[in-house]
């Protein structure tokens, strides 16, 4: 009787371990995401580099690659593209204000990352998961990137590249522009 109980408990414990360890496996899967920053001569591009390096040294499987784009409007356009879309982008509230409703639907707000030229810079993310990636795994990867951006090491690395870096919610700006918040958004 005792043996049977022990066996049942052991089986239950195994199930719990498997289900708990099952989640990080999806997160740990190698995923390469692209962040649209802005001109390669700008501070936000340097910040993008720092985020990129922080993501690799974070070592949890998600890598962020930096993409020198034409700026906020370009980032919105690239995030909402059907093919070859980028995953993250730096924008201002003004850029979001000029976006088409269809483009706004494709994006989610994550956080405010700081101020550049007196304007608040926001970080947005593409809502749709990349091809062959489940919604859950994508959401976990986005959460992992936000985690890196909020971590002490991540913050000091990005601050060294861009002094204006100071992560905060940005929820009011997203709300005003009609952009929904991502699950991993800083509240």
């Amino acid at each position: 009787m005792k043996n049977k109980l022990m066996k049942t408990l052991a089986a239950l414990a195994t199930i719990v371990v498997i289900s708990v360890s099952g989640q990080p496996q999806a997160i740990a899967a190698d995923m390469e995401l692209v962040l649209g920053t802005g001109s390669i001569k700008g501070k936000l591009f340097s910040a993008g580099n720092a985020i990129s390096i922080a993501s690799v040294l974070g070592g949890k499987g998600v890598k962020v690659y930096n993409y020198g784009t034409k700026g906020g409007k370009d980032n919105i356009k690239r995030i909402s593209k059907k093919k070859r879309a980028i995953n993250f982008g730096f924008v201002t509230a003004a850029d979001l204000g000029k976006a088409k409703p269809k483009q706004l639907k494709a994006i989610r707000g994550l956080m405010a990352v700081g101020k550049a030229k007196g304007k608040t810079v926001l970080l947005i993310v593409r809502n749709k998961a990349p091809k062959k990636v489940s919604k859950e795994a994508y959401a976990a990867a986005v959460a992992q990137v936000v985690g890196i951006l909020k971590s002490k090491k991540g913050m000091s690395r990005v601050k060294a590249a861009w002094k204006g870096y100071s992560p905060s919610s940005g929820a009011a700006d997203f709300k005003a522009a009609g952009v929904k918040l991502h699950k991993a958004a800083i509240m």
């Binding site: 990129s52 690799v56 930096n66």
Partner: protein
């Protein structure tokens, strides 16, 4: 005086040897790259051939670099890859942590466009993963199945192009102006996919494109004999590209009537030879460049890399850094009068 110059030269040599020796003694490539992150800068956006090659090569290359660093990609498109080239050449740190996969058109651009903010002959090449052999394909309804048919064609073959600085413009224009083919080029298509669509819709009847791109994007059209290869451009002939009669397609370079034409064609075909190349900026310590070159060679022979490339339908035709350096230097040494003629041939100012 001569004696003084000799002493000065010896001193300079000793200092430079000392500097490189100190560098090697201070931190070996393995020590330098350990726990470090190599950034590979791409002169294009995500999702295309540059991206695919870079990801595939880098994921294996870092295992062969002493110290096994991590890597990240950085996309820097613009001006046909010249923006990235200017950044890598002038701004990027010369420590061996910034690598580049730059446009294969750069040597030609440097000579033909002028005002380049880089010198391809001074780059430290790491190696080439594949050539970019351009193959001219013609739609089946034209009745053209090989180059001889094209030379006799009374109706012009209409080529789709994405812009005058692209190979899909350069190759048919060379065929028209140097070989006298009855060809028209329509520029302005947004990319390869759009030209392929125009081919299928009968809007255009030809396209010049990288062989790898034909295989990966339009292999069906080749299999169904909807398109026929008539010529290939590059510096070396690939023996496996057959025309509509099942015979190997000729190399445009072999059609040159004299040495001048041969040099012009060599310059205009240089992009094929430079191909999918990897480099670091000038000024990177020699021991690191050497370590990267050998790591690249080892990667190209790595069965895991080859299997990965095969799965992604990527051609692998590797060349060493030494070969690439020599080839780039030869292209850049094209005499100025011939460069002028090449520009005139393309209608470039």
């Amino acid at each position: 005086m001569r004696k003084h110059l000799g002493i000065a030269a010896s001193l300079a040599a000793a200092i430079s040897f000392g500097a490189s020796g100190a560098n090697a003694a201070g931190k070996s490539p393995a020590e330098f790259y350990k726990d470090n992150v190599v950034t590979i800068i791409l002169g294009a956006g995500p999702g295309g051939g540059y991206d695919l090659y870079a990801r595939t090569v880098m994921s294996h290359l870092v295992k062969h670099i002493p110290g096994k660093p991590s890597y990240i990609l950085q996309f820097m498109p613009g001006a046909g890859g010249q923006k990235a080239a200017g950044y890598v050449y002038n701004v990027a740190p010369k420590d061996g942590l910034k690598m580049a996969k730059l446009s294969n058109m750069l040597p030609a651009f440097q000579l033909l466009r002028g005002k380049a903010k880089y010198d391809v002959s001074k780059m430290n090449y790491i190696g080439r993963a594949a050539s970019m052999q351009y193959v001219t394909m013609v739609w089946h309804t034209t009745g053209v199945k090989n180059l001889a048919d094209a030379q006799k064609a009374k109706t012009p073959i209409i080529f789709g192009s994405s812009g005058i600085s692209q190979s899909n413009y350069i190759v048919p224009t060379v065929m028209k102006n140097l070989l006298g083919l009855n060809v028209k080029v329509i520029s302005g298509y947004p990319g390869t996919a759009a030209i392929n669509k125009a081919l299928e819709q009968g809007e255009v009847t030809g396209r010049a494109g990288a062989w790898s791109s034909w295989l990966s994007r339009a292999g069906r059209l080749i299999d169904e004999k909807k398109i026929f290869a008539i010529a290939q451009s590059g510096t070396e002939k690939a023996g496996n590209i057959m025309d509509g009669y099942g015979k190997p397609t000729p190399l445009l370079l072999d059609m040159a009537k004299n040495d001048d034409e041969r040099q012009i064609l060599r310059l205009l075909s240089s992009d094929a030879a430079i191909g999918r190349n990897f480099s670091v900026p000038p000024g990177v310590p020699r021991d690191r460049v050497k370590a990267l070159c050998r790591a690249f060679d080892a990667t190209m022979a790595d069965p895991a890399f080859l299997a990965d490339a095969k799965a992604r339908k990527l051609l692998v035709e590797p060349k060493t850094c030494e070969w690439l350096t020599k080839t780039a230097a030869e292209i850049v040494a094209t005499p100025k009068p011939l460069v002028k003629k090449a520009k005139a041939l393309l209608g470039w100012k």
